[in-house]
């Protein structure tokens, strides 16, 4: 199982190297970073620079999950490779999780890229007072992002208008995930919805890792991020099984 997962990760890395369009969101991240930093600087809130960097990075990570990981199964369907994957004895879910994991890891380079842009363009640097917790939070965020993306991949196979559905999941989640604007600043009635999304917990904790004060209840918050990720894996697993059963029933494994 682990061998298959690693082989699938390696395979997806090869795909990304051969198809740079998979990295499109890493091309747009400098624009987001510059825009956010410019607005915050002009508003006299240079202290919010870490928010801009984290916000741009999280938006990129989410967009990559949505538009790259989310399309992996459907892309196989278009290429005619899904039939072969389905007819192979290995658990296809593990293979797709491995591929999603690679995409997610690559998307996290956005954080480094965003920090670099902040430094190169605006000369902004910021200390990381809780580096250990930051690394841990990033790892938990990546885990949960893989779990959440495992819901998207089968969902977009099922959706009749997958593109519209995909697009509709971008900006609402940037907002509800508190990527740029912290959840506490959202209208009160929106906050419960936001709390059900792991991204809102992750973005809050990531920002807290960049502040001097000790983050409050960090282990519990990490637990929520991981818990919501596990829930994502569970839903993704059931959904993938249901979708594959359905395409085998209606004969739409391939488009040919």
């Amino acid at each position: 199982m682990i061998g298959l997962f690693l082989a699938a990760m390696r395979f997806q890395a090869q795909v990304v190297r051969r198809e740079p369009d998979y990295l499109m969101s890493l091309v747009t991240i400098p624009l987001l970073t510059v825009a956010f930093l410019a607005i915050m600087g002009n508003a006299g809130r240079a202290d919010l620079a870490p928010y801009a960097v984290v916000g741009a990075a999280l938006m990129t990570i989410w967009a990559t999950a949505l538009f790259v990981s989310g399309e992996l199964i459907d892309a196989d369907r278009w290429e005619g490779t899904l039939e072969g994957v389905l007819a192979a004895p290995a658990p296809y879910q593990v293979a797709y999780l491995g591929r999603i994991a690679t995409v997610t890891v690559i998307s996290f380079l956005g954080l480094v890229e965003s920090a670099l842009i902040a430094w190169l363009v605006f000369g902004v640097t910021f200390p990381v007072p809780h580096a250990g917790l930051l690394v841990l939070t990033l790892a938990c965020t990546a885990f949960s992002m893989v779990g959440t993306a495992s819901i998207m991949a089968p969902l977009f196979v099922l959706a009749r208008s997958a593109r519209i559905f995909q697009n509709s999941l971008s900006y609402p989640f940037y907002l509800l995930g508190g990527t740029v604007v912290p959840v506490v600043l959202l209208p009160e009635w929106l906050r419960p919805v936001s709390k059900a999304i792991f991204l809102s917990w992750a973005s809050d904790l990531l920002r807290d890792c960049l502040r001097a004060e000790e983050p409050v209840a960090a282990p519990a918050r990490l637990g929520v991020i991981v818990g919501l990720g596990v829930l994502g894996f569970g839903i993704g697993h059931l959904l993938t099984r249901a979708v594959f059963k359905r395409v085998r029933e209606n004969g739409s494994v391939g488009f040919a």
């Binding site: 061998g3 298959l4 082989a7 699938a8 395979f11 090869q14 795909v15 051969r18 198809e19 290429e79 005619g80 490779t81 039939e83 072969g84 994957v85 389905l86 007819a87 192979a88 004895p89 290995a90 296809y92 293979a95 085998r248 029933e249 209606n250 004969g251 494994v253 391939g254 040919a256």
Partner: protein
């Protein structure tokens, strides 16, 4: 008692589409492929060949009936079925074209749960066997159609399957590659593998198969030896000739086994026969009458179907 490689009984598959009439792709199909046998499924496009292959490879569920592969049920025992089969779906799709041949095969070998070291050796062996070793590290999108088809075959063999399902495997191959492919099928049979191969090419079926089932309109019309089907082909041979005088045409019409003598637009005479040896009698009559512009041709598979189905009194769709 040995287990048949493929045993299909009453297999039916109906496709339902929104706002459209349901389409019956397979209609109560019975089929047996014995272990170690190369079995051809011969039929025109849309006959149901690919649908049957998809069901046998577990990527499509049947509407009713049963199908066992290597003794395992394709609906209830998918894991065991998948462990024992290799599939090759024809055409250009089904490969990761931006990746190299080696990268493709390494991923497929992972999907057949082979450890990396075993996979590397197996991939190299298959690339060599398929004549792709020199291009192993080139992107598949730069391959010719025939090369892609050979890579498909390598993929089908990656899991060292007992039973191979080859759906139109020679589509796009040039004649030399197709001949090499036939040698390969013979090798695979020599290794004791069972093979179900779909094709619409009679010559291919004749040269590689032990048995051939004719399929049309989702029904298996019959299973015969390739020799018998080859006999049908020659039985329904046609003779074309130019400059045939009217009295010779009349003589031809009177010959036993001649079903039709038709004069085409360009004064060419087309003689159709429906009995073995009749074509030879027609040729002799023409030569005796001094007609030298003569040629013979085999009927298309569809024409043979029509004859066979007609002879058996089945409805032709």
């Amino acid at each position: 008692m040995t287990t048949a490689a493929v045993r299909v009984r009453g297999l039916t598959r109906e496709f339902t589409r929104r706002r459209a009439q349901p389409r019956l792709a397979l209609d109560a199909v019975d089929l047996t492929v014995e272990e170690g046998e190369v079995h051809g499924l011969l039929g025109p496009n849309g006959a149901g060949k690919t649908t049957l292959c998809k069901i046998l490879s577990t990527v499509l569920l049947p509407t009713s009936g049963t199908a066992l592969v290597n003794g395992f049920d394709v609906v209830r025992e998918t894991k065991q079925v998948r462990q024992g089969i290799g599939i090759v779906f024809g055409g250009e799709r089904g490969l990761y074209t931006r990746l190299t041949a080696r990268q493709n095969l390494m991923y497929w070998s992972a999907l057949y749960q082979q450890p990396t070291r075993v996979a590397k050796a197996r991939v190299a062996e298959l690339l060599e066997r398929m004549g792709l070793l020199e291009r192993a590290d080139d992107a598949v999108e730069t391959f010719s159609r025939g090369m892609k088809q050979r890579l498909h075959l390598a993929r089908g063999l990656i899991g060292d399957p007992r039973t191979l399902l080859l759906d139109e495997p020679t589509v796009g191959m040039d004649p030399v590659a197709a001949r090499d492919f036939r040698s390969l099928v013979a090798e695979l049979r020599g290794e004791g593998r069972s093979i179900l191969i779909t094709t619409h090419d009679m010559a291919e079926a004749e040269s590689v198969c032990d048995k051939v089932s004719l399929i049309d309109g989702g029904k298996v019309i019959g299973t015969e030896s390739p020799r018998t089907i080859g006999g049908w082909m020659s039985k329904y041979e046609r003779v074309r000739a130019q400059g045939v005088p009217e009295e010779v045409r009349a003589k031809l019409r009177a010959l036993p086994g001649v079903s039709e003598v038709r004069v085409e637009d360009d004064e060419e005479v087309l003689v159709s026969v429906d009995a073995e040896g009749a074509a030879a009698r027609v040729l002799r009559t023409l030569v005796d009458a001094g007609v030298s512009a003569v040629s013979t041709s085999r009927p298309s598979l569809e024409e043979v179907y029509l004859h066979v189905i007609g002879d058996r009194g089945l409805a032709v769709r």
